[in-house]
């Protein structure tokens, strides 16, 4: 089902069978429990879910994580046991042992199929035990990998307080300065002077879970433009969720997989969504900042120089990557943004596999992709939604790309066949956003190529026996 490209450089969209390998979306607890320090994640599912988490998160399991399985037994599935009573018992235990500020229930395939009414139970139990309970249906029936975070943040969006709900100055400060200590200018004597470093603009809230250093970097980057970030969804603590003023607050996403969060903020919280490419690579970061500036009525300054300076730093890597080809098998939804950056670096992209493509939410990114292809003289990019890994591997064997970005299920078998690979999961966990981390993306892309180049003279390329 190939749709005709609108222009010579606009991407072509295809859809395959959806038989591809990816992580289950419940994996989002791995990074979200670390990000939201006062949370507890309860995954309501079976041994299968538990086994996945245990093996995928390996080392973290041993560090007394703030997540656990509510493992469903036969009695739960055939409704011999009452879901409310069971969840109450477990949540009281969690409250006693860990005393979190929020319990996040992760609904799974099983709770979907047996139609356990988590959304119905949560408010009642919340009243009874006195801890907020947020319900996110991050199941494998509907979602892939990083979309798990999207379901959690979409559920959390409606917990962001309105200005009227936050009365005490203390709390106001906490919520608007979730970047602890970094921007608490109000407390210093020079406060007013620093405050004026910001332009007059409507409040801006950014959404997407990033590690603290990256949050700081992007916030500082906007500060250079005189833009103040009023808060992040998620904040480091649940009690610091940003204030959202309905109809007034502007929001912008930092990751391509947050389409449900975007629409929750837009529809339920009546925020103004800034549609922009995502801040991956110097090109994406610049376009992201420009879009935010434009929406808030601020004239960007020095951005072009900033981008050029980063490109100058990347010169060595870009020269190395130029002309090399890459194939994305697709599993984490970062693919379009990464492909766009790599095309700008002079690479050829054979195919961009992606689990799910929200053309509306990713509009800014798709536009930038098209522009990049046009400017770099790159053929229209083939975007394959719900790919079929079997067919993809046949295409890979024909195309022989210089690099395949793929999940761990295929990486070793491809390497054994002489095809260089990079694990896609690493892009999800590494710091890759903003100007500062552009180099880290290229380092990750380069590493397998450098390594196989280093081993080249040994003649160990194909390590399987032909049948």
């Amino acid at each position: 089902m190939v749709t005709e490209p609108l222009s010579l450089s606009s991407p072509q969209f295809e859809c395959e069978t959806g038989n591809y390998h990816t992580f289950c979306p419940i994996s989002c607890v791995a990074w979200l429990y670390q990000k939201i320090e006062d949370s507890f994640f309860l995954v309501i599912g079976t041994k299968t879910c538990g086994y996945f988490l245990q093996n995928a998160l390996g080392v973290m399991i041993f560090a007394e994580p703030r997540y656990a399985m509510a493992e469903l037994e036969e009695g739960d599935v055939n409704a011999k046991l009452n879901a409310y009573d069971e969840l109450r018992r477990l949540c009281l235990q969690v409250k006693k042992d860990r005393d979190p500020s929020v319990i996040v229930w992760i609904g799974t395939c099983t709770t979907e199929i047996i139609k356990m009414d988590l959304e119905g139970i949560a408010p009642k139990l919340e009243d009874e035990i006195g801890i907020p309970i947020v319900v996110a249906r991050a199941n494998g029936l509907d979602y892939a990998f990083t979309q798990g975070e999207d379901t959690v943040l979409a559920a959390m969006a409606s917990r962001c307080p309105a200005p009227a709900e936050v009365r005490s100055e203390e709390e106001k400060k906490e919520r608007s300065a979730s970047l602890r200590g970094l921007f608490n200018f109000g407390t210093t004597k020079k406060g007013e002077k620093v405050e004026s470093a910001y332009a007059e603009h409507k409040p801006l809230v950014l959404f997407g879970s990033l590690t603290d250093p990256v949050v700081n970097q992007l916030t500082l980057e906007l500060k250079k433009q005189g833009i103040k970030v009023s808060g992040w969804l998620p904040a480091p603590r649940y009690t610091e969720l940003p204030i959202i003023e309905q109809g007034v607050t502007y929001v912008a996403g930092v990751n391509p997989f947050l389409s449900r969060t975007a629409s929750a903020l837009q529809r339920r919280m009546r925020c103004n969504l800034i549609n922009a490419p995502f801040p991956l690579g110097p090109d994406g970061t610049r376009a992201w900042i420009e879009a935010i500036c434009q929406a808030l009525g601020v004239v960007p300054k020095g951005l072009e120089e900033r981008e050029q300076q980063i490109w100058a730093n990347l010169k060595g890597d870009v020269e190395f990557l130029q002309g090399k080809s890459v194939f994305f098998m697709g599993d984490n939804l970062l693919e379009v943004s990464l492909a766009r950056f790599l095309i700008r670096c002079g690479m050829t992209v054979h195919e961009v596999g992606i689990p799910y493509m929200d053309k509306r939410y990713q509009q800014g990114e798709l536009d930038l992709l098209e522009r990049t292809c046009r400017e770099m003289g790159h053929a229209p990019v083939r975007i394959v939604e719900k790919p079929d890994n079997y067919y993809q591997i046949q295409r890979i064997q024909q195309l022989k790309p210089d690099l395949v970005i793929t999940g761990m299920a295929h990486a070793n078998p491809l390497e054994a066949r002489g095809i260089t690979t990079k694990w896609s999961v690493e892009f999800t966990f590494a710091m890759i956003h903003g100007f500062t981390n552009a180099h880290d993306i290229l380092k990750m892309v380069r590493k397998p190529l450098d390594r196989n180049h280093a081993l080249k003279s040994l003649g160990w390329e194909k390590l399987i026996q032909e049948a």
Partner: protein, 504 residues
């Protein structure tokens, strides 16, 4: 519902997939939602497998919930048959299919009409079986399926021969154990007829009855298959795990008895003696003066039934170590375990609750732990050394080098493992005499200590978050950058600018 953080054995479908992907040219199709094919990652990563794992999913999604998965499952089976031409396709149910209650058996029958491959439905219900019991069940199921197809029972081999049953993918040191068993059988003058499930095709299963007897090295896998073969073909089996010097000798003697019964009288006693005293180093190791200090040291043992029982025996009978308690997570086989370790430890613990096991380790305060990866981490926390002797395991438990746990080379490996787990003898004495190691505090003075550069609070906090081993480098680079830029105060912005400039 049960609050759970960690489990020792996986869900049923993992056991089925381990069996299916151990065979050559068998393809498993999981009836499962997206993301449940994590097995492929484990096999590809832990075993460093060069081939694509022959497991695909027939994905259960929203549409399937609405319409049923009949067409999809059948189409996927037929498609896989055409693409890969497997000998057998195993439709593998998961926790999801357990509650959907579709008639998977019927889909199998329908698919079978249009496939070259045989198609079966693995009979392992998620809520009744775990990884280990499901593996046992699936192995037996496949063997029975192909034995039923036998037109006539093939004749026994002229010379003594054996099948090795229960070697499987993702099994703890299984490939090394298998090599060691083959070597041992070779030395005993016994041919290996077939190894299953690892590395054999389902058609080769028809040769199983040719062997004089079966060997089941692990308690968890292959026993019910051996029982079935005994009943069907009067094929005896040896289910003694040849782990440790004494058990290996018992194993060899059991083989001697079987051969004797079959009219091939052999005397393996000289071989056992030679191996025990001079080839394996374990007996001499136990006797050597260096190991005197193992006498009476306290240890705890925990793992699957095979390894925990064998380890308990080795520690107490062959090395003079005192086992405070021995335990297993295989609750389904608790009685056997109790009988095995009876009299060899102060207490037996049957539990699959890792927190309980952790508490019991802390209470026992042993000098060493022999357990799974989980106990290794408990040991780390309590500062007690741990030797890993059983699944669940991590990638480091799939060593590239030759590390059998079974047979005579296995005894050498065990000796090293035990010896290296306890504090070394002389070191032990020194610690007692001098009351501890040298002080660990090292006086450090970085090159840039007196640069007069000031770090802002937030920058200092950020620096503190950087892992210790690169922190010094980051600090030096940042200060160098600040000096070159003529800055005296290092803020967060300066830190990030330095990172960009360094391209690191």
């Amino acid at each position: 519902m049960k609050l759970a953080y960690w489990m020792y054995s996986g869900p049923a479908h993992i056991g089925t997939l381990r069996i299916a992907s151990s065979f050559k040219n068998v393809h498993a199709i999981m009836h499962a939602p997206l993301g449940d094919d994590y097995f492929n990652v484990m096999r590809s990563m832990l075993e460093r497998e060069r081939d694509f794992t022959p497991v695909t999913a027939s994905v259960v999604d929203r549409k399937v919930l609405g319409r049923g998965s009949q067409d999809k499952v059948v189409t996927n089976i037929v498609r896989k048959d055409q693409e890969e031409s497997p000998d057998l396709i195993v439709l593998t149910p998961t926790c999801t299919s357990a509650i959907l209650q579709e008639d998977l058996q019927n889909f199998v029958a329908r698919a079978q009409e249009s496939t070259q491959a045989d198609v079966i439905l693995a009979d392992a219900n998620h809520y009744r079986f775990n990884e280990l019991t499901a593996a046992e069940k699936t192995f037996q199921q496949i063997v029975e399926f192909y034995m039923a197809k036998l037109k006539e029972v093939p004749e026994r081999t002229a010379q003594p021969s054996a099948n090795i049953l229960g070697i499987s993918t993702l099994g703890f040191h299984n490939t090394h154990d298998c090599q060691e068993l083959k070597k041992l059988l070779g030395q005993l003058g016994i041919a290996v007829n077939l190894v299953a499930p690892e590395g054999c095709t389902v058609h080769e299963l028809q040769n199983l009855p040719r062997a004089w007897f079966n060997i089941v090295p692990y308690r968890e896998l292959g026993r019910t298959t051996a029982e079935f073969l005994q009943e069907r073909f009067e094929q005896p089996y040896v289910d003694i795990t040849p782990m440790g010097v004494m058990q290996t000798a018992r194993f060899v003697r059991a083989i001697q008895t079987i051969l004797g019964d079959r009219g091939s009288v052999v005397d393996y006693e000289p071989f056992i003696k030679e191996q025990t005293l001079f080839v394996s180093q374990a007996a001499w190791f136990s006797r050597s003066i260096d190991c005197q200090n193992l006498q009476g040291k306290r240890a705890v043992v925990y793992g699957d039934t095979t390894h925990a029982a064998a380890m308990t025996r080795i520690l107490t009978q062959e090395m003079g170590v005192r086992v405070v308690w021995a335990g297993t997570f295989c609750k389904h086989d608790a009685e056997w375990f109790r009988a095995q370790v009876e009299g060899m430890c102060d207490e037996v613990i049957i539990s699959d609750d890792h927190a309980h096991i952790g508490d019991r380790i802390a209470q026992a305060e042993p000098a060493a732990i022999f357990g799974t990866q989980m106990e290794r981490h408990v040991g780390k926390r309590l500062n007690i050394p741990c030797g890993v002797i059983s699944s669940p395991i991590h990638i480091q438990n799939f060593p590239v080098s030759y590390r059998p746990f079974l047979g005579y080379e296995g005894t050498n490996q065990m000796a090293d493992l035990v010896y290296n787990s306890f504090t070394l003898g002389m070191e032990d004495h020194l610690l007692e005499v001098f009351g501890g190691h040298d002080t660990k505090e090292v006086i450090t003075k970085t090159v840039t200590a007196e640069t007069g550069l000031e770090w802002s609070d937030d920058a200092a906090r950020e620096l503190a978050k950087i892992p210790g081993f690169v922190r010094g480098k980051v600090k030096r680079n940042t200060e160098k950058f600040a000096r070159e830029s003529g800055l005296s105060r290092i803020s967060l912005e300066v830190m990030y600018a330095a990172k960009e400039a360094a391209g690191a």
